[in-house]
Symmetry: C2
Subunit: 180 residues, 2 copies
């Protein structure tokens, strides 16, 4: 089991013909894949987006710790439910939302998570993602991602430069992100 200390990480699956879907971004403090707490998980590719530092825990140790403190199961269960909720939202986004909505939501979602960690200054946040990664996370093509991000910037909703992003008009961006 791995906990991110610094940097961004993705988890993804791909088809043999190269199509790829990013399932989640992990930020500092996140546990990489709760289901793999007890057992390894196959078919998923964990990749660094940026330079990363992390801590690794032995599964065997975890088990003994957990069984000594049954109250921790509450925590694990919470974690699990949260992760399931994220998966479900992802399915809803990919199945039922437009490209604009998906991209707007990805940005807002990351901003929110970074804010919780005190990693947003004003409305500015580190944004190390390549457009190819945004595409793989939203089920779109890099070309289309470029067009949408271009529109967002021309509409003064966001500004991207130097791997950092400013949300210049959050209400409007939320508007585009669509109903909850």
């Amino acid at each position: 089991m791995i906990v991110i200390c610094k940097g961004w990480v993705t988890s993804s699956i791909s088809l043999s013909d190269g199509r790829r879907q990013i399932l989640a971004f992990f930020l500092p403090g996140d546990i990489v894949s709760t289901p793999s707490l007890f057992e390894p998980i196959s078919g998923r590719l964990i990749e660094a987006v940026t330079e990363v530092t992390y801590r690794k825990f032995k599964r065997s140790e975890l088990k003994t710790i957990l069984f000594k403190n049954p109250s921790l199961f509450e925590k694990v269960s919470k974690c699990w439910i949260e992760e399931k909720a994220n998966s479900d939202q992802l399915a809803l986004d990919l199945g039922r939302r437009t490209a604009d909505e998906r991209i707007a939501r990805l940005i807002l979602n990351l901003a929110e998570r970074l804010a919780k960690r005190g990693m947003v200054h004003g409305q500015t946040l580190d944004f190390p993602l390549r457009q190819r990664q945004i595409a793989d996370a939203t089920g779109l093509t890099p070309v289309h991602v470029s067009k949408v991000l271009g529109e967002f910037q021309r509409a003064d909703l966001i500004e991207i430069s130097n791997r950092s992003l400013v949300i210049t008009n959050e209400p409007a961006l939320r508007q585009i992100a669509g109903p909850k």
Copy 2:
């Protein structure tokens, strides 16, 4: 916690404007939503596709049983991992596969699960789904689902009638379902 004894059940989430995504179909023997083993889960709608019979377990009882038999945690953990794997596949399907692939895979997937339960006779299986439900599971419109199913039938891949489905050309259907 609920276990299906007879019939089909869906779990779904929706947006306030009515867009809906079906997250899973539960068949006889399935546990409805493992994450809800310990805690209730919100925002999800559980619906019967057919007449359903089920068994209900009290969460409190479950907990005591589990803590008396720690070996059961292995089972729970397996179940959890399986469910996560399904979520991930769903994301991949919705994000990266074409309409034909999604529908072919849905059919094959259900057939496989029913087969495990001895509920397929020859190549014939009960198929109570409405096209609207197939649409909500695959992120498509009912109209498009109708067209694709029509093509599949005209190409003699499947036959649908009276809420039952025959896979008449499984290899070809797998072909359409695309790479794994």
